[in-house]
Symmetry: C2
Subunit: 181 residues, 2 copies
């Protein structure tokens, strides 16, 4: 059964640099109305980059919502209408200084389906070549190299919480171990 | 290196039923200032419930941000100060009509570290007993039973996008297959 919610009205609350915020009034399947608080996001890309030695290229960044440094796969926001793979290749090179010969799709991630429309496309990048790192001016990050095997263990020990990183590491680890067989 | 961002000022934009929205002005490591658009969320719980036959209990709900029905593990928002396991047990029973004898922590999930402070705690629930389903009044959902093995395959085929569901299914599948050995 489809519980479609018809939008009755939509109120724009804030148009930001990264996200917009709006509140919709919807009609529920039982005829009642309800408010939906909604975040609009242009979408992003996350890249699981594995070098020839089996190491992951990760970045550590300060993340204001948690007020701490967080270890993540390289990632970035998409420009309107941009191709996700092109965005992923650019972000990987900007943040880590590596370009990938192979780019493989690992799926879409809906981070929190109740209130945000963000879609994060996750890619597996291999056959890496060193180029040059050039982060955005207001981007401060540490590049960290960790064996994929170790990151997989940290994920399974519940030491990594960032959703795109957990999903990317698990899918890449399973995939690369299947390909070996 | 820690790239701590000191909050200079904080502007509350909207206080909602599920989320609040605010914009902070922060001082960057290079001395510049920047805006941070931030969503405040009380946190949630997701439950990977596996019955004795190896089937997952899932729910299908209409999700306004994507304007479609989405297949998810049962989940819910935490009340302020609530214990995550108690919240998880309540949500599982409300949404599916099952209570679990065993509840095991599968880790925290930060859905989108750039703008929301939400933390989703994921649990594995087993030894299920039938009780009674009683969803909230404004909650409309279909309960769906799918073999864990099938859901694992769908996740690896990139057919499932909801972050908590992807993470819960992968971790539970890996864990339960390790325990078997």
């Amino acid at each position: 059964m489809d519980f479609f919610e018809k939008t009755i009205s939509s109120e724009k609350i804030y148009n930001g640099k990264v996200i917009n915020f709006r509140v919709d009034t919807v009609k529920l399947p039982n005829g009642d109305t309800a408010k939906r608080e909604l975040v609009e996001h242009p979408g992003g890309v996350g890249i699981v980059a594995v070098d020839d030695g089996g190491c992951l290229l990760l970045v550590e960044q300060f993340r204001k919502p948690y007020d701490k440094m967080i270890l993540e796969i390289p990632a970035g926001k998409m420009e309107r209408g941009e191709n996700p793979e092109i965005c992923g290749r650019r972000e990987l090179e900007e943040e880590t200084g590596y370009a990938a010969q192979r780019f493989e799709f690992l799926g879409e991630c809906y981070p929190s389906v109740g209130y945000t429309d963000e879609i994060i496309r996750i890619f597996l990048a291999t056959d890496l070549k060193k180029t040059e790192q050039h982060p955005d001016e207001d981007e401060f990050l540490n590049v960290v190299r960790i064996p994929l095997e170790d990151m997989y263990r940290r994920v399974m020990n519940n030491e990594i919480a960032d959703a795109k990183t957990v999903i990317g590491v698990l899918k890449a680890y399973i995939k690369l171990n299947q390909d070996k067989k």
